[in-house]
């Protein structure tokens, strides 16, 4: 195939192709991307508002808004709602700090606020571009947890969510530059992490059987029953498969419970961060079990599929956990 064109253009093309080949062969050539982040990040930050707003409005419209209400009443209600959300956000901030203090207890780390500003250009990988404030310094491998992830959906948070806390693991940093980083989501096929499964049992609330000492309720299956975490953690290895988190080679004898559909169903066993990782404390939640499949090679083991708690499609505000050396 002969390329016709002026000689300088052909030479320029040849030079650029040679440059591409050199980049492919050079290790660490990806750092070249960091030079362009100061341009891309602010534009992506502004552009990201559009799809998130659209999703928010679609969610509100399909969320069952009452028909036939007076438009003026709706407007006043929205104004009141926005005022309440401002007060709520301040209250949540205080609660989050209290929550993190109790969850992290003793784990020395810095929390770096970050905001999702865009995705990678190609949807074949589950990765997001992050920007964080001046002074933040995340490293590849740092675990990212969410904070007010469902900011626009605060009112629509379903009550069936396990009530251990407000923050879940959503991924880890794999590439860093000044003020920006790439987040690999927990559903990315390349994501893997040691984790632990916790069995959840439904028991009647109150009375003599109010749960084992030190293991409080984790949620409510029915109005008169409470879900409790029971038994020792089951060590597993979590990997993404593009849609969910997959745990392979889990002994079938553990009797893993999947999340039931409908009100009052079993909330599903929990996937939490394992104590074998030093990047976050033990017990930070990742997701819940949605189905299991027996392995064909050995029926004594099952493959467990876990759905992340965080809504990764509208991921916006996240929090990077940076361990601090003693």
């Amino acid at each position: 195939m002969r390329l016709r064109g002026k000689p300088p253009k052909r030479w320029a093309l040849a030079g650029l192709c040679l440059f591409s080949v050199v980049l492919m062969l050079l290790p660490g050539s990806r750092r070249l991307c960091h030079l362009f982040r100061p341009v891309l990040v602010p534009l992506s930050h502004a552009g990201q508002v559009v799809p998130v707003s659209i999703r928010t409005r679609i969610g509100e419209m399909t969320g069952g808004s009452a028909s036939g209400e007076d438009a003026r009443v709706l407007g006043l209600r929205r104004l009141l709602q926005s005022q309440q959300e401002i007060v709520e956000s301040q209250r949540r901030k205080i609660d989050d700090l209290r929550q993190w203090r109790s969850e992290l207890k003793g784990f020395r780390c810095r929390l770096i606020d970050a905001r999702v500003v865009g995705s990678e250009g190609v949807p074949l990988r589950s990765r997001r571009l992050l920007a964080f404030r001046k002074g933040g310094n995340a490293a590849p491998g740092s675990i990212v947890t969410t904070r007010r992830l469902l900011h626009e959906y605060a009112k629509a948070l379903p009550e069936k969510l396990v009530a251990l806390g407000d923050s879940y693991v959503v991924g880890r940093i794999i590439d860093c530059a000044a003020f920006s980083a790439t987040l690999q989501l927990v559903t990315d096929p390349a994501f893997e992490m040691p984790a632990a499964l916790r069995r959840v049992e439904i028991r009647k609330a109150g009375g003599e059987d109010s749960g084992p000492p030190g293991k409080g309720p984790v949620g409510r299956g029915e109005p008169t029953s409470v879900a409790y975490v029971v038994g020792p953690p089951i060590p597993v290895h979590a990997q993404g498969n593009g849609r969910e988190i997959v745990l392979t080679h889990v002994p079938a004898g553990h009797g893993i419970q999947v999340a039931g559909k409908g009100k009052g169903g079993h909330p599903g066993d929990l996937l939490i961060a394992s104590e074998s990782t030093e990047l976050i404390p033990f017990g930070i939640r990742i997701g819940r079990v949605v189905r299991t499949e027996p392995e064909k090679e050995n029926p004594h083991f099952v493959t467990v599929y876990v759905e992340p708690f965080a809504d990764l499609e509208v991921l916006r505000e996240v929090c990077i956990v940076l361990p601090v050396a003693e």
Binding site: M1, R2, L3, R4, G5, K6, K9, R10, A12, L13, L16, C17, F19, S20, V21, V22, L23, M24, S29, R30, L32, C33, F36, V39, L40, L43, S44, G47, Q48, V50, P51, I54, R55, V117, G118, S119, E120, G121, V122, P123, L124, R125, S126, R127, L129, I174, D175, T182, T187, P189, A190, Q239, N241, G242, R243
Partner: protein, 176 residues
């Protein structure tokens, strides 16, 4: 080719691809499938530019810009594949009616299949085994190609309005 305007178009396309385009993704069997706007832009430029070198240079620029938004290994491969794909579209365009949406869709499909099947093959060969194999990635790349093929006529129709800003036409010729 007016390169200043083209570079502005590349920047706008990259921002749209990384921010607005994810709103068009949908969840498929093995992950998300979405359109590739830069591929559609590359097909448009290859269909209307005057020389193969211009088409290849424009393709390389689009591929490199997209590569800058990615992470992991293989930096530079996407630029090479885009340049080769754009040159290929330029050389086969005489066999088609460039203004027809079906032509644009087919060329968009072939372009994406060429670029992303090779790109995923490189990814699978060079990255340690994730336990998935090549074919799930290839299926998602094919899904991306089909989705982009559907979007390409729309992108071409939008860019046709600004074609004069991008491509210098010879005097006396209003359209190709």
């Amino acid at each position: 080719m007016r390169w200043i305007y083209f570079l502005i178009l590349v920047l706008v396309a990259v921002v749209l691809q990384t921010t607005v385009a994810p709103a068009l993704w949908f969840r498929a069997w093995q992950g998300y499938v979405g359109p590739e706007l830069l591929a559609a832009v590359s097909v448009f430029v290859a269909l209307h530019t005057r020389s193969a070198a211009d088409a290849a240079l424009a393709g390389w620029t689009l591929g490199f810009a997209l590569d800058l938004t990615l992470s992991g290994g293989g930096m530079g491969l996407l630029a090479l594949l885009y340049a080769a794909g754009a040159a290929g579209v330029f050389h086969v365009r005489d066999a088609f009616f460039a203004g027809r949406p079906m032509t644009q869709a087919i060329l968009g499909l072939l372009f994406c299949l060429f670029v992303y099947e090779l790109w995923t093959a490189y990814d699978v060969l060079t990255v340690p085994d994730r336990g998935q194999g090549w074919w799930p990635q290839a299926a998602r790349a094919a899904g991306l190609a089909v989705y982009t093929a559907a979007v390409t006529p729309l992108v071409c129709a939008a860019l046709k309005r600004v074609r004069r800003l991008l491509i210098v036409l010879p005097a006396g010729r209003q359209r190709r």
